[in-house]
């Protein structure tokens, strides 16, 4: 019997057990080592990357950033992902405000429509969209890619914004309304500043996602080449370390953007609740 011992409160982290800590460390290694390998090999001084490493070089980065095709597709990807991220956030925000603050009949139906594109396999969405765009072939290419990525990202953009806005103090909004502020004024002077971190976070996530998405874009791309499409194509043949170099830059940027957005989302939930 453990007579006399009183255990209260949060278990002590020090008692977490060495095994559990070590196991968690292993899982983190599993999550990060593979992408670290791409970055490591981008510095390898050999035309075909592999162990043992011959030496360190920055040549592949120079080669990647002076390759006109690679750079063209990089800028195409940035432009398209930025457009769809802004568009997705713009249509997600009003819906999130309504869902969070107002009584909506058929709420379940609305939620289902918003969750469906997340659970339907992307290859199915891609095929469906390309058959739709056969009716309006002029849109195939950049506009179709922007539309496709907006469709994919607007769903979780709405859900994330909705869950953040739920934590808002409605008293701020009601106070402003009672003082006679117009809807527009309430939006621009109260809601927008308070929701700015969440909006920015959602936009960054949508951008990162759209930037790296391959299969849906491939279906509707026509002759437009985004960076994932170019990288995919180059993986069919002999891999150039220049691809490693550009990939590692993108991986690092994606990690930073997604870390920033996660931190903003968490901050928002703390400051507003």
């Amino acid at each position: 019997m453990s007579a006399g011992t009183v255990k209260l409160g949060r278990p002590n982290p020090a008692k977490g057990g060495v095994a559990l800590t070590a196991y968690t460390a292993l899982i983190f290694a599993f999550l990060y080592l593979p992408i670290a390998v791409i970055i490591l090999f981008a510095f390898d001084d050999k035309p075909v990357p592999g162990l043992p490493m011959a030496g360190l070089t920055l040549d592949w980065f120079g080669k990647a950033f002076s390759d006109p095709d690679l750079m063209a597709s990089l800028f195409v990807s940035i432009k398209l992902a930025l457009s769809s991220a802004v568009l997705a956030t713009a249509i997600a925000m009003p819906a999130a405000m309504v869902l969070a603050w107002r009584e909506v009949r058929l709420r379940t139906l609305v939620m289902c429509l918003l969750l469906a594109p997340i659970v339907v396999p992307q290859i199915v969405i891609g095929l469906g969209l390309v058959l739709l765009f056969r009716l309006v072939p002029d849109l195939i290419g950049s506009p179709a890619i922007i539309i496709a990525h907006t469709t994919l990202t607007a769903c979780y953009a709405t859900m994330i914004l909705y869950s953040r806005l739920l934590g808002f103090r409605r008293s701020y909004l009601e106070a402003a309304m009672d003082l006679g502020a117009s809807d527009l004024r309430v939006f621009f002077e109260i809601i927008l500043p308070l929701a700015a971190p969440a909006l920015l976070a959602v936009m960054l996530l949508a951008f990162t996602d759209a930037f790296g998405e391959y299969i849906v874009a491939w279906f509707v791309a026509g002759f437009t080449e985004t960076l994932p499409i170019v990288i995919w194509g180059s993986m069919r043949g002999v891999l150039s370390p220049a691809i490693n170099a550009i990939s590692s830059v993108i991986i690092v940027v994606s990690l930073v953007l997604s870390a920033l957005s996660q931190i903003w989302i968490i901050r928002q939930s703390r400051s507003s609740s």
């Binding site: 278990p11 593979p34 992408i35 390998v37 162990l51 969750l115 095929l127 469906g128 993986m235």
Partner: protein, 302 residues
């Protein structure tokens, strides 16, 4: 007396109320319209188009618009499609089980043992999920190939003489790649569930003389079951329809259903065939969701 003074005020109140109800409804419609219209145009309608196409056929590279169930009959009689569905289900099942086994201790550690590091660790679990799947699968090609990191590493240290050839371009590689892709997604709902288990309940069990192990299995784990189910459902349906990982790591000897869909579309130019495969795949996903809805509801309602 009193009635006459109240009546005008009351009627004024009711018209104001009617006006505000009207205004409220206007707000709701205006707010929801953009996203709902967008999703109808670019999601619901494409899915309906797929359904319509699946009843047509392709003859000599031209669409034949006569209604037929041939595409569906082909799916259930042609062993190639049947095998593709079977492989997809098997892979998804393996991925789900492995992800669950890997994720439970990590989610538990982050929720209960990580102290002030928990937010940081949770963020660190999630962020690789947002790196392009093309690049994450590409990383595993560098690792698993015959001249890849793992084989060369084992050769250089003298553990093996011949490289393992089964690592890349096999169902094993697909499972590894998908586990890697969806592990972060599994940790999240599990973390949320473990986080909701009060420390006092665990302490109470231990005060009643349960060993930490027994307290975990009889108190913490059953309470975390909703998170386990949510993670399992999403892991399974995402694994089932994933294209990028099997295409890059599977080698193409045995196809998953997503690869069969692209093959029908790209190589055979058989859009109705691809559409029928897509509809069946979607039906499986919807069936899984319908069956598991009772576990999902408390999570989505939050």
């Amino acid at each position: 007396m009193a009635g006459t003074t109240i009546t005008p005020a009351a009627s004024y109140g009711s018209t104001a109320q009617a006006a505000s109800v009207k205004r409220e409804r206007g707000h709701i419609i205006a707010g929801l319209a953009p996203v709902l219209l967008w999703q109808t145009l670019f999601f619901v309608i494409p899915m309906l188009i797929l359904l319509v196409y699946s009843f047509w056929t392709m003859r000599d590279y031209r669409l034949d618009y006569t209604f037929t169930l041939d595409n569906y009959v082909a799916i259930f009689t042609n062993p190639i499609y049947f095998k593709a569905f079977l492989l997809s289900l098997q892979v998804a099942l393996f991925v789900t089980v492995i992800c669950a086994v890997l994720a439970v201790p990590v989610a538990y550690f982050i929720a209960k043992k990580a102290g002030r590091w928990r937010v940081m660790l949770l963020v660190m679990v999630i962020i690789p999920f947002w790196v392009s799947l093309v690049m994450r699968a590409f990383a595993w090609r560098l690792l698993l190939g015959e001249r890849g990191f793992i084989n060369r590493g084992l050769e250089l240290t003298g553990v093996i003489e011949q490289p393992f050839s089964f690592l890349l371009y096999s169902p094993t590689a697909i499972v590894i790649g998908l586990v890697y892709a969806y592990l972060p997604l599994y940790v999240l709902p599990l973390y949320a569930s473990f986080d909701k288990v009060h420390d006092n309940w665990i302490a109470a069990a231990q005060d009643l003389n349960a060993t930490p192990m027994r307290a975990f299995w009889e108190v913490t784990f059953p309470l975390a079951l909703p998170g386990l189910m949510v993670g399992a459902v999403f892991c399974f349906i995402f694994g089932l329809g994933e294209y990028i990982v099997p295409a890059l790591l599977g080698g193409g000897k045995s196809l998953m259903i997503s690869q069969a869909i692209r093959l029908e579309f790209e190589l055979r130019q058989n859009w109705p065939g691809g559409a029928a495969l897509s509809i069946v795949l979607m039906a499986i996903v919807m069936a899984i969701l319908a069956v598991s809805l009772r576990w999902l509801r408390p999570e989505t309602a939050r």
